[in-house]
Amino acid sequence: MATLAFDVLPRETSPGQRALSRLLRRPSAMVGLVVVAAFVGLALAAPLIAPYDPVATSWSAIRKAPSAAHLFGTDELGRDVLSRVIFGARASLLAGVVSVLISLSLGIPVGLLAGYVGRWTDGVISRVTDAMLATPFLILAIALAAFLGPSLTNAMIAIGISATPVFIRLTRAQVLAVKVEDYVEAARAVGNPHWRIALRHILPNVVPPLIVQATLAIAAAVIAEASLSFLGLGQQPPAPSWGSMLNTAKNYVEQAPWMAIWPGLSIFVLVLSFNLLGDGLRDALDPRQA
């Protein structure tokens, strides 16, 4: 009898499983996920997929329009645009992911510290965060990249640092909300040390909004890397990057428009996919907002 009663009860699912099933029910988020996965596959398998060496120049094939031999045409040095777009996905994805990892690894501990410790520690951290947020994201990244020197690594550091205050503020706000919950009080009452309460009881409960923000931040970081490379502060030639390809392409809009169309379209599609995925994750992880 008891067995029967348990059989008719709905099967217990974890919050993670419920979030995943909500995510899977959103077609736009799934499209975003598939496209992002495709770009990751493209970046990883670039040497196998790209028809030509992305940095190999050919004086006999300068600014050739798209054809069977060069599907996306060639650039001002006769390099194959398709191969450069495929290899360019590496710089964009790497910059997107690495800079957000930098932001997370700086922002989460500092935000946790500000929210958990409070008092003057919070006061100082919050004022520094306000100061960084007062400087427009891209202008701060440009200034940092300018002083650090132009390179893809420095661009990633500059973008990562510029995006950090958002994560500090978000983590802090979440910690402030979570640290007054009963289970945290209970953990404190049974004598857990502060580090254990912060890391084992608070941190896991502030993760969902951070995942959403991180996904949207990757989209912003991809655009920021392309912007810095467009300005000559990111990936340095001849290594391919969508931003630097557009920088060159703007000088040949009249003669070779295909040089500008494909790298820009790639940035747009990748950023759009991360935005769709981020919006879907927000709805899945926070059903109140859906």
Binding site: V128, A131, L138, I139, A146, F147, L231, E254, F268
Partner: protein, 313 residues
């Protein structure tokens, strides 16, 4: 009012102080001896010595900061190494161009974002809503420098309607000025229109479900009057205050847009300074931008305070 203002002003002082430390700290990122780097490629010993003395490089870091901050407080943001002009003069020279660009961009953003947000909220869940959301997502995902290049391709190269680049002062030829500014303004306004549309949609949805809107409808008022007179008026307050925070997007966008369309404004000033290793200009521009942003934030808060009677009580 005065208590609110005093409290609000008290919070911006430490923020501005930290901004100044951040901007001063940028200089410390320069590899090696700052005087050698700033003196340019020639490393003229007299220039290096002059810079060393001027920047107090032989003093301790906190002392140098105090000297630098003293200058900033007197309105001295340093001097451009390349152009041999005070940074403040350069900013004053370039700013009007960017202000015109930004003003046109805001007009375009308001003209697209607010109607799209209203339509999206009023027709929630319909094809209109999905279309407006798709346009917003498009605006948020398009890199504006690419959009700029594509518009040049269409309107300058293919159709020949508008100039691809260059700037004409409105005092010289207003028509030519507008022709040269309309594409960059649209590019810049596009991303802000997307943000405004999202803000308008959520503010309108909230207001449309409130009791007084239900009452207005129950009185038998025309739906257009309900939406535009009763709902929009109240929804506009948060939209305008949130819109003020888009200043950062506007300036970041201006950097790239001015680069694409070769407009000699504030954004181009910082990019040229970066390439000329004119670090005082970079620092000055960052400090100026942050100060304007903080001031705008303050004004937005004051405006919100003034128009929202609940906050005053």
């Amino acid at each position: 009012m005065s208590t609110f203002l005093t409290r609000r002003l008290a919070t911006i002082v430490p923020t501005l102080l930290f901004v100044s430390m951040l901007v001063f700290g940028l200089q410390q990122l320069l590899p090696g001896d700052a005087a050698l780097v700033l003196a340019g490629e020639d490393h003229d010993p007299s220039v290096v010595a002059h810079l060393r003395a001027k920047m107090h490089l032989d003093e301790a870091l906190p002392v140098r900061y105090v000297y630098w901050l003293g200058g900033v407080l007197r309105g001295d943001l340093g001097e451009s190494m390349r152009m041999q002009k005070p940074v403040t003069a350069l900013i004053a020279e370039k700013l009007p161009v960017t202000i015109q660009l930004a003003a046109m961009a805001i007009v375009i953003a308001l003209a697209i974002g607010i109607p799209a947000g209203i339509v999206s909220a009023v027709y929630k869940g319909t094809a209109w809503d999905y279309a407006a959301n798709a346009v917003a997502l498009w605006g948020l995902s398009t890199p504006n420098f690419w959009l700029g290049i594509m518009l040049i391709l269409l309107f300058s190269v293919s159709l020949g309607w508008l100039p691809a680049s260059g700037y004409v002062s409105p005092f010289e030829d207003l028509r030519a000025n507008l022709a040269s500014m309309i594409m960059p303004a649209f590019v810049l306004g596009n991303a802000i229109a997307a943000v405004l549309m999202r803000h308008t949609r959520s503010a309108m949805l909230q207001v449309l479900s409130s009791d007084y809107v239900r009452t207005a409808r129950a009185k038998g008022l025309d739906e257009r009057v309900v939406v535009l007179h009763h709902a929009l008026r109240n929804a506009l307050v948060p939209i305008i205050t949130l819109g003020a925070l888009e200043f950062g997007t506007l300036l970041s966008g201006a950097v790239l847009t001015e680069q694409v369309f070769t407009i000699p404004g504030f954004g181009k000033l910082i990019v040229d300074a970066v390439f000329n290793r004119d670090y005082a200009v970079v620092q000055g521009v960052v400090l100026f931008t942050a100060t304007v942003y903080i001031t705008l934030n303050l004004l937005a808060d004051v405006a919100y305070f003034l128009v929202n009677p609940r906050m005053r009580s």
